[in-house]
C-alpha cells in the first residue's frame, strides 16, 4: 500500500467519522437503547470494523453500512452476555438460585396476597401456554413492548395478521380466565374493531 493511498484512506475515514459518529452514538443510545456507559465502546468498535473494511467501501449507502455494523456489534455483545448468563443459570444448583426464578411478582406484602399473585401468575402462564403458537408469539412480543409493525417484520406477516392473532388470543384468554375477577388487562391488544 503506497503512502498516498494510506493518506487517502485515512482522510476518508476521518471524514466519515466526523459525518456519522454522533449519529451512530445517537442510534445506539436512543434507537438500540444501549446504556450510555457502553455506547462509546460500541460506537468505537463500530468504527474499528468500518476501518477494517474501508478498502471495500465504495462510497455508497454510508449510513446504511454503519447502521448495520452498529447493530451487528451490539447484537454480538448482547448475544455473548446472554449466552454467558444462560451458562451460569444452567450450572446454578443451589436452592437460592431456584427460588429466585420462582419468586412471584414482588410488592405483595402478606401471605394471602402472595399466594393469590402466585395463583394468578400460574393461571396466566398456563392460559398463554395453551394459546396456538402464532397467537402466543404475538402476545409475548406485545408484552415485551414491540409495535405491530415490528412484530409483522419479524414474523414476516402483515400488520393485519398480527392484530387478528392478538384479537383471537384475547378472546381465548378471556374465556379461559373468566373466573378471575378484576384481572387487569395490559394494553397490548388492538381495539376490538372487526
Amino acid at each position: 500500500m503506497g503512502d498516498n493511498e494510506d493518506d487517502e484512506l485515512a482522510a476518508k475515514f476521518r471524514a466519515i467519522y466526523e459525518r456519522h459518529y454522533r449519529a451512530v452514538v445517537r442510534f445506539l443510545i436512543n434507537g438500540l437503547r444501549v446504556p450510555a456507559a457502553e455506547a462509546e465502546d460500541i460506537a468505537q468498535e463500530t468504527f474499528v470494523r468500518f476501518w477494517e473494511s474501508i478498502r471495500d467501501y465504495r462510497g455508497e449507502a454510508e449510513w446504511a453500512f454503519l447502521e448495520i455494523v452498529a447493530r451487528r456489534v451490539y447484537f454480538n455483545k448482547r448475544r455473548a452476555d446472554l449466552t454467558e448468563k444462560r451458562r451460569v443459570e444452567t450450572n446454578a444448583t443451589s436452592l437460592d438460585d431456584i427460588r429466585h426464578w420462582q419468586e412471584p411478582a414482588a410488592k405483595h406484602d402478606d401471605l394471602a396476597d402472595r399466594e393469590l399473585a402466585q395463583m394468578i401468575v400460574r393461571r396466566l402462564r398456563e392460559a398463554m401456554r395453551a394459546l396456538p403458537d402464532k397467537q402466543r408469539e404475538c402476545l409475548l412480543m406485545r408484552l415485551e413492548g414491540f409495535k405491530y409493525e415490528q412484530i409483522a417484520a419479524i414474523l414476516a406477516v402483515t400488520v393485519d395478521a398480527v392484530k387478528s392473532r392478538l384479537r383471537d388470543a384475547k378472546k381465548k384468554l378471556h374465556a379461559d380466565l373468566s373466573d378471575l375477577e378484576r384481572l387487569p388487562w395490559p394494553e397490548v391488544f388492538p381495539e376490538d374493531e372487526p
Binding site: R14, Y17, Y21, R22, A23, V25, R26, F27, N30, G31, L32, R33, A39, E40, Q44, E45, F47, V48, W51, S53, I54, R55, D56, Y57, A61, A64, F65, I68, R71, Y74, F75, N76, R79, L82, R86, P104, A105, A117, I120, V121, R122, L124, R125, E137, M141, E144, F146, K147, E149, Q150, A153, I154, L155, A156, V157, T158, S164, L180, P184, P186
Partner: protein
C-alpha cells in the same frame, strides 16, 4: 389484589421456558437471513423460534434510528472537544489493524441485507436494480428484463377482475405499480399471499422518485401458479407508516 405485574411474571416464565427449550440465541447472520426471507421455511421457523426467546436481540434488529440530531443537554450530545478525544482513542484502537481487502460481495450483502430482500427498481433505476439482482441471485451474465406489467390499484379497478400476471420471460415477473395522488416522500412495498396473509417480501424504505413508479422484479419461484397475491404500498415512515394502495393479482406461472 392483582396488577399487571402478574402478566409480566407469567411472560417472563414463558420466556425462560422457551430459552430452555430452544437453546442458544441465533447468530446475527441467521437473523439477517431470516428477515430478508433468505431461509427455507423449516430453517426460518427454527431461527424464528430461537429469536423469539430473546426479545432483547429482536429489539436490536427492528429498532429505528432516531430522527434529528442531539442538542446540548441531550443524553447523546457529544461536544467538539469530546469528539476530538474519541477520535484520538479510536486511532489507538485501529493501530495495527490495517484495512484489508475482503470480498466486496460479502460486505455489500451485509450492508444491503436488511434493506434489499429482492430485486427492486424504482422508475428508471433498472440498472441499479440489476446489480442487486446479481448480488441476490448470483447471476453471472447480463439479462434483459421482460416486459413489465402495470398493476392497477384495487380501489381504481371499479370492481373488474384482478389482473392475471404471467412470468414475462419464464423466470421473472416484472411488476410495475404507479402511485396515484400520493403526497408522501417515503414508501415501503410488500408482497403478500392474499390467501394466507403471509408476507413474502418487504422492501427497504424507498424515497419518492420523479416517475412515481416502482418496478419489482420477482422470481417466478416466489409465487405459486394460480395463487392470488397483493403488492401493498405503504406511505410514510416508522410509526407514521400507513397503507396507501393495494394491487391484487393472480400469478399464472410461465
Amino acid at each position: 389484589m392483582t396488577d399487571k405485574n402478574e402478566w409480566k411474571a407469567a411472560h417472563d416464565e414463558l420466556l425462560a421456558d422457551a430459552r430452555t427449550r430452544t437453546g442458544e440465541p441465533p447468530a446475527f447472520d441467521e437473523v439477517l437471513a431470516l428477515m430478508n426471507g433468505q431461509l427455507p421455511e423449516q430453517e426460518a421457523q427454527r431461527v424464528r423460534e430461537r429469536l423469539l426467546a430473546y426479545p432483547e436481540l429482536m429489539q436490536i434488529m427492528v429498532a429505528s434510528a432516531p430522527e434529528g440530531t442531539a442538542r446540548p443537554g441531550d443524553d447523546d450530545f457529544i461536544p467538539d472537544a469530546e469528539m476530538s478525544r474519541r477520535w484520538a482513542a479510536l486511532q489507538k484502537r485501529t493501530v495495527g489493524k490495517a484495512p484489508v481487502v475482503r470480498s466486496v460481495i460479502n460486505w455489500r450483502r451485509a450492508a444491503l441485507g436488511l434493506a434489499a430482500a429482492l430485486v427492486l427498481a424504482m422508475g428508471g433505476l433498472l440498472a441499479e436494480a440489476s446489480s442487486y439482482a446479481r448480488l441476490k441471485h448470483e447471476l453471472r451474465e447480463p439479462h434483459v428484463l421482460g416486459e413489465e406489467q402495470l398493476l392497477t390499484p384495487d380501489r381504481h379497478r371499479g370492481g373488474s377482475d384482478v389482473a392475471t400476471i404471467a412470468a414475462a420471460d419464464g423466470e421473472w415477473y416484472v411488476l410495475s405499480v404507479s402511485l396515484i395522488d400520493a403526497t408522501a416522500n417515503a414508501f415501503r412495498l410488500t408482497i403478500v399471499d392474499a390467501g394466507t396473509g403471509s408476507m413474502l417480501w418487504r422492501s427497504p424504505p424507498l424515497r419518492r422518485r420523479e416517475s412515481d413508479t416502482f418496478t419489482i422484479q420477482v422470481p417466478r419461484a416466489l409465487l405459486r401458479a394460480g395463487g392470488k397475491y397483493q403488492v401493498i404500498v405503504y406511505a410514510g415512515e416508522g410509526a407514521a407508516e400507513e397503507r396507501l394502495e393495494t394491487y391484487t393479482f393472480v400469478a399464472t406461472g410461465r
